[in-house]
């Protein structure tokens, strides 16, 4: 095995592979930063260029882009409250408030550093899992997918804010939107009103752009301020260094969320958005600074960012071992594997083991290079936050509208984004939390699909499988914890009086 690991490394030690990886990273950063241009689009654009390349060079290009998209998505999330990709939604919630405090460079630095750590954790798990990959994956099935997604749904309460009823309504609205489109089992169109464009459901990008970015632009324009509300004290370089230190001083949350990201990555179909939201929800519950979540908390940035990148390592496990792609991006990578002559499945764990290690090394190196580039670019990018909003606002509006259109290439999405923008504005003004709605939209379809599958395959007692029982225990603890916490707080307050 060590020999295969060294062979894998040797495959990458060429100028061609490193240059292609850098090209992939730059393309990934651009695609990630522009809302609507997802990682899948980046891979689809790059895929034709890999024809005729050797496997290591092709994978360097594609995986480089795939990894860099994650950090690229967090750049726009932090600067303009618009996640460049679905995987950066939760990064907005604390990244943008930190940017408003004049500390965008620090937020970007935290995102870059935690992405690197997450990516390295994913790499470590991927390598550690190689000997046991196939057997482990066969133990996970639809009941576990359903329960894992259900755990995510319980975070609706955590991310709710002041009123529990409003949080539940917001989460419920998200779920209701998730059921628009073809029913996953019977393919019956639901709530489509005869519109063909709704058969695939409502895209996430117009919802996120509408709910988060557009109301924020409106508020900024009304106040006439720049994104950063206060003057910057100290140098940008100092803030970047501070961000790196912040990340490592919160090592427990970092490791916890990286591990969660890997776990979600291993489960095909859940995707990076789930990892991002679940990690944020977990940190909002366990972090020592949970009181400051939503106001620019360090853990609120590093939790989703580390989970995003560690997920890639987890994603590769079913892709390599079983040929089952973990997500849409991995499906394109799977196609690329076949195009360059690699056959995912048992062969990758025996005769093709050196290629498997090469892929793992690319994952690690691409993460480190992305972080290095990210840290170098933090300072100039962060200066955008100090531009007058009168100049920045039309540019942000343009990015939002183009982003909404590019996601699916439908002009209807632009109208949806504006509609959700007005709705998000009303929610903001009337105290309805917006984060639970996103959780509902993301998890609704997953929960529905896997519950139907679990019921069909395992019957009503599907949750009695060993891993399912563990997840069920997590669901119960997650749901009971707030009530128990509230009771303890009331008891303490009573004792204090």
């Amino acid at each position: 095995m060590i020999e295969a690991a060294l062979d894998g490394m040797a495959m990458l030690l060429s100028v061609k592979s490193i240059v292609l990886m850098l090209v992939g990273i730059v393309v990934g950063l651009v695609f990630g930063a522009l809302p609507g241009l997802s990682g899948q689009t980046a891979l689809a654009v790059l895929l034709p260029f890999t024809l005729g390349m050797d496997p290591a060079a092709a994978m360097s290009l594609l995986l480089g882009a795939h990894v860099a998209v994650e950090f690229g998505g967090s750049v726009s999330a932090i600067l303009i409250n618009t996640p460049g990709t679905g995987q950066a939604i939760a990064t907005c919630w604390d990244g943008y408030p930190m940017a408003q405090r004049g500390e965008a460079a620090r937020a970007l630095s935290i995102a870059a550093t935690s992405s690197a750590v997450g990516g390295l954790v994913g790499f470590a798990v991927l390598v550690a899992c190689i000997p046991i990959m196939k057997r482990t994956l066969m133990a996970i099935a639809s009941p576990e997918y359903f329960l894992a997604a259900f755990v995510g749904l319980t975070f609706i309460v955590v991310l709710g804010g002041g009123s529990l009823i409003k949080a539940l309504i917001s989460g419920g609205l998200g779920l209701m939107l998730a059921f628009v489109g073809l029913d996953p089992i019977t393919s019956v169109p639901r709530f489509t009103f005869g519109q063909l464009s709704l058969w695939d459901g409502i895209s996430l990008v117009p919802i996120v752009v509408g709910l988060f970015a557009l109301p924020e632009v409106a508020a900024l324009l009304a106040k006439g301020e720049s994104i950063a509300r206060i003057e910057l004290h100290g140098s940008q370089r100092g803030l970047i260094w501070q961000g790196i230190k912040d990340t490592f001083s919160h090592w427990w949350v970092l490791l916890q969320c990286s591990a969660l990201g890997v776990f979600i990555g291993i489960l095909p179909g859940l995707g990076g958005t789930v990892a991002n939201l679940a990690a944020y929800g977990l940190a909002a519950r366990t972090s020592p600074e949970r009181d400051t979540f939503g106001q620019g908390a360090i853990d609120g940035i590093l939790a989703p960012e580390s989970a995003n990148n560690s997920k890639e390592g987890g994603d590769l496990i079913p892709t390599i071992a079983l040929g089952i792609p973990g997500g849409a991006g991995m499906a394109i990578l799977l196609g690329a594997f076949v195009m360059v002559g690699l056959t995912p499945g048992p062969e990758m764990l025996t005769t093709g083991l050196s290629h498997t290690f090469a892929i793992a090394w690319i994952l690690a190196i691409a993460n480190l290079l992305t972080t290095a580039i990210g840290l170098l670019c933090c300072a100039p990018i962060a200066r955008l936050c100090f531009l007058p909003v009168q100049i920045l606002a039309p540019a942000i509006m343009a990015v939002c509208l183009v982003g909404a259109y590019l996601d699916g290439g439908q002009i209807e999405n632009v109208f949806l984004a504006v509609g959700f923008g007005l709705f998000g504005y009303l929610m903001r003004r009337t105290g309805y939390p917006r984060a639970p709605m996103i959780i509902g939209v993301v998890l609704g379809r997953i929960v529905e699909r896997y519950l139907h599958m679990a019921l069909k395959l395992y019957g009503r007692l599907f949750f009695l499988r060993p891993i399912s029982l563990c997840l069920l225990a997590v669901v119960i603890v997650t749901m009971a914890a707030p009530a128990l916490y509230a009771r303890t707080m009331r008891a303490n307050a009573g004792a204090g009086r």
């Binding site: 241009l37 689009t41 907005c92 919630w93 943008y96 309460v157 955590v158 709710g160 804010g161 002041g162 009123s163 529990l164 009823i165 309504i169 419920g172 779920l175 209701m176 059921f179 019977t186 019956v188 639901r190 709530f191 988060f212 109301p215 924020e216 409106a218 324009l221 009304a222 106040k223 949970r290 009181d291 939503g294 106001q295 009168q390 100049i391 039309p394 540019a395 509006m397 343009a398 509208l401 183009v402 259109y405 002009i411 632009v414 109208f415 923008g421 007005l422 929610m427 903001r428 003004r429 009337t430 105290g431 309805y432 609704g444 519950l451 139907h452 707030p482 916490y485 509230a486 009331r490």
Partner: protein
């Protein structure tokens, strides 16, 4: 924005009722989840509407906000903005500008409509200098052309006038 709370809660109740009514018309499998979510939502939106309309209820049900949730109040920039009619008017005006951007994109296509919108915004709303008002839209046009047309060949909406 007190009236807004009443209107939004009531509208959500009506929308949920319509959703449930539509869901009832589907066969058992497709309607299972929409009804499982829709019916509790109907109860919640009705309760919220009642809380907004009857002040006595709002104090009674305030306990439904758990301590955990109260501690996390303000999450995701969701602090309720202060009621200032001038501020509200300015915010709504921003959506009119957004409408202009959509209109320009629909008519002229995104490649030409977006830079034109930026120019009009910078000149009329922001009253910036000509160098910025012309330079920024031209820069945007250049970046969009290079990125979407030349390098990645991703088609942008062409516009009703050119189609």
């Amino acid at each position: 924005m007190r009236w807004g709370r009443h209107v939004l809660s009531g509208a959500l109740f009506l929308a949920t009722a319509a959703y449930v009514w539509l869901a009832v018309g589907y066969k058992p499998t497709p309607r299972l989840f929409p009804l499982a979510v829709g019916i509790p939502m109907l109860v919640l939106t009705a309760l919220q509407t009642a809380i907004e309309c009857v002040p006595r209820l709002s104090t009674k049900y305030a306990a439904l906000g758990t301590v955990d949730a109260e501690r996390l109040a303000g999450k995701a920039n969701d602090r309720v903005a202060e009621d200032d009619p001038r501020q509200t008017r300015k915010e709504l005006a921003a959506f009119l500008w957004l409408g202009l951007a959509v209109g320009a994109s629909m008519l002229l296509g995104m490649l030409w409509g977006i830079p034109l919108f930026i120019f009009i915004f910078l000149k009329l709303r922001s009253a910036t200098r000509w160098t910025i008002a012309v330079g920024l839209p031209l820069g945007t046009l250049g970046v969009m052309y290079l990125l979407f047309v030349r390098v990645f060949q991703i088609p942008l909406y062409a516009g009703l006038l050119w189609e």
